[in-house]
Structures are given as C-alpha cells and as structure tokens.
Amino acid sequence: MTDWRPGANHVIQRQRAALLADLRDYFAKQRVLEVETPLLCRAGVSDPALENFEVPCGHEMRFLQTSPEYAMKRLLAAGSGDIFQICKAFRWEEQGVRHNPEYTLLEWYRLGIDHYQLAREVGELVAAVLERPGWQIWSWQAIFQEVLGAGAHTAPREELEALAMGHLGEIPLGLDRDSLLDLLMSHCVEPAITGWGIVFIIDYPASQAALAQRILDVAGEPRGARFECYVDGTELANGYWECGDAAELRARFAEDNSLRKARGQSDRRPDEQLLDALTAGLPPCAGVALGVDRLLALKTGAQDLDAVLSFAWSRS
C-alpha cells in the first residue's frame, strides 16, 4: 500500500483556503490586479544559485519558472499598472523541511515606490496575517555587525573565511566571497534572529543585487536595493527596487553565465523578450516574492512544509 494520504490535515487545508482568500481580498481592496503568466517558458534563469526544471517540448527545451518575475515585468512594461500573482514556482533540487521543489509563490509589483516603501507594505501584510505586533528593519551591514561583530561588507575573502571558520569550525573549502557571505547569513545570522519575530534585512552587498538596482548608501558605498523578510529566522520574502536598465541586466546575465560556466553548470541564454520589454520601458517599480507555503507554516506553527502541503515532493 502506498502512502496516498495528504500531509496537510483538514484544519490546515481550510487555513490554506482562507489565507489565499484573505490575500486576494487584500489586493482587491488595494486595487492591485490579479494576473496569470505561463509557468513553462522558453527562457530559464541564469542566477547560478537557481536551477530550472527542464521540460522537452517537441523540438525545443522549455523551463518551468523559478518565479513569474520575467513575464510579470513584461506585463508591467506593457502598461498593466500594479499587479499580483499567486502561482506555482519550481526550483530543481531544493528540498528540505523549509523547501519543496514545487511551491506556491505570491509575487507583486507596485509602481512608483522603492524597496523601503515596499518593505513597509510587506511588514503590514505579514504582521496582519500572522497577528504579530510589528517588525524590525536592519541594514545588512548592521545585522552582520550585530551578530558576527564584523563589518563584512568590505572584508576581503580570506577574512570572511577565517570568520566563518571561527564560528562554524569545518567549512567547505574554496568558497568564493559571495558564497562565504551566504554561508555566514544562513548559518550564523538566520539562527541568531530566530527569536526576533518579523525582521527585514535591507540593502545588500552590491555583488548580491540580483535584479535590483544598485544604489549608494549614506557612506557612498554601492548597495543592492534589495530586502529579505525573515519571520522567526525563516526567510519568507525577497524584494527589489527593480532595475529596469536592459543593458545593465544583460551584463549581469552574462556575469551569471560566466560564473555558471566556472562551476560546471549549463549556459542559460538571456530572456530576450524580457530585455526587449525593459528597452521599451519598465515603469519605476518595486516587486516582491513571498513564499505562501512558508507563510502558512508560520501561521499554523508547522515545523515541516509537509504538514501544510497536500502532497509534498515525497508524496507527489
């Protein structure tokens, strides 16, 4: 007999339905338009930390989207105004108690605001859903200083490696500078903020800007205009003050691909339709992606995503 039963019980199934209804209700009241975009597209993602599921479709290979970002930006460039989407997203080989390779994402875009203003909206929404009193905002630099006692922004690679070894003992050898920052973030900062409730970390190192604008902070240092929202140490949402410069993004995709090549990952051609849309003009906007399954897990106190999904990866 197979294990055919769902992981989520009846109570949690109802809570999921209610959460989705509440989210849609919130955006309807805010006059943000619900949209749908394709999940199986011609272009994949070049970020070396992400891998698409590849699906053979006749003569071509298509890619299950790791987020609906590219297609939603094409809608924005076409004049959609504020939009949101609740859809499935797919990430190859990301599986664990907080990861399911196929998961539900809430992604939305607001015109004419920056990532600080968007973080405020995320804070209000998440605090309301989880019935928490409020949230804290930390700059990336300040939280590293607080937890690790080190100014990691400018520290050279060797210093970061020594810092990681000091805190963690044995670490994988040969990590590059950004991977060391990721290691310190996931192994030192995240556990340290577990008891802090809702925490925003904002203004990342410029090398970790991803698709966000690069800006200068008060000290004149370049930063990625990005935020992450953590709740009890669990990463819940990732937001950008969007970079709409097609040439800049093309250059970042090329950088991604040279890093992919060095790591033995396959090349990902840039999404030309996205780049053409940006050339036509992306309105100034900020966007955020929020993990709905994790939000439900936080709301219900579930320790494992298996308990909030009907059929998690091992059951599907």
Partner: protein, 190 residues
C-alpha cells in the same frame, strides 16, 4: 564505490569522510533567500562512534563506504582477538578489542551480535538489547526478601559487575538490559 551527492544523503547512508567510514544521521538543506545553498549534515563516525556536524556546498559529493551490517555469532577469544562466525557460511571474523569496545561486557558464546564490517573487517560490535548471563560471585542471598528494594553487586562470567536484588544468588543466570546495564529479571528457564 559510488559517489553520493548531497541530495542523495539520507539517514543510514554510509560514506567516507576524512578517511573514516561514517553513517549519515541527518541532512538539512539550508539556503539563504538568494545565493549558495548548503547541506548541514550530521554523521556518526562508525569507528569512534563520535557524531560530526559538517556543512557541504549543495551538489558536493562523498565516496560511499564499503560498510555492511551483519549478524554474527560470538565464538571465542584468544586473548587478543574476538572471533565471530557467520551462522550461514561459517566464515570467521576476528574483531579487535577496539572494535568490540564496551560490548566485551556482554559477550556470550553462541549469542548473536550485530557486527559492522568495513572493507570486510569488523569495526563495531553491538549486543542484543537483552542478554542472559551467569553470576560467578555475589554475597549470599537473603531468604524470603523478594519484594523489598535493596541491591548488591554481582560479578558475571564476563567480568561485568551489575546491581542485583538481594534475593539473587551466586550461580544463577539473570537477564540484563545491555543499553543501561540494569538487571531485568531472573533468566528464563535454561
């Protein structure tokens, strides 16, 4: 041996780490919002029994360890090695005192033990949860006292010393929980 990637790590998988055979206990996938993913792995060094915590970059791999758990019967010791026999093939395996470790206290001839073989040689020997052994030495028993508390030391054929109730006498066989070293009862009829 085959190589195993971090996404194949699961509890019970035997791998080589720093030249030591290890068994994977837990494997946790960790990833910051964006960026490099890691696997935080707990492994038991099968030789020393120590538990190691290690972080791997996701996608890194480890060589599988040639490790096999078998059930063997204890035969005898020549003072240096302890000899175990496969009850089916009659193959003999010599285990060092290091490999036998604390299990030495619970060795009884013809009893079955779980033996972990690494490259064909025993590295650990685990006793059954319960074992019956004879008492070679203890103070004389107190007649009639079967219900009250109170205990005394008793030496077993293996040299192990356990606490037994006062009514137990020398020459009797008793049942012991090997996980705690506690007396359980008088042995079932031999």
């Amino acid at each position: 041996m085959a190589n195993f990637s971090t996404n194949e790590f699961k509890s019970g998988l035997k791998v080589m780490l720093d030249g030591e055979p290890c068994s994977i206990l837990e494997n946790e996938f960790v990833k910051p919002g964006k960026g490099q993913a890691f696997n935080r792995v707990k492994l038991r060094n099968l030789r020393s029994g120590r538990v190691w915590d290690r972080t791997f970059k996701s996608g890194d791999s480890l060589e599988g360890a040639d490790v096999l758990d078998v059930e063997l019967e204890y035969s005898y010791t020549d003072g240096e090695f302890f000899y175990f026999m496969d009850p089916v093939s009659f193959d003999q395996h010599a285990a060092s005192a290091d490999a036998v470790g604390d299990t030495q206290k619970w060795l009884r001839e013809q009893e079955k033990y779980e033996v972990t073989l690494y490259n064909g040689a025993p590295i650990t020997v685990s006793p059954p949860n319960f074992i019956e052994l004879e008492i070679t030495e203890t103070d004389p028993g107190l007649k009639g006292d079967t219900a009250q508390g109170g205990s005394k030391p008793a030496t077993l054929t293996t040299g192990a010393v356990v606490r037994v109730p006062l009514f137990i006498s020398q020459g009797e066989s008793i049942r012991i929980d090997t996980r705690t070293g506690d007396y359980v009862s008088r042995a079932s009829k031999n």
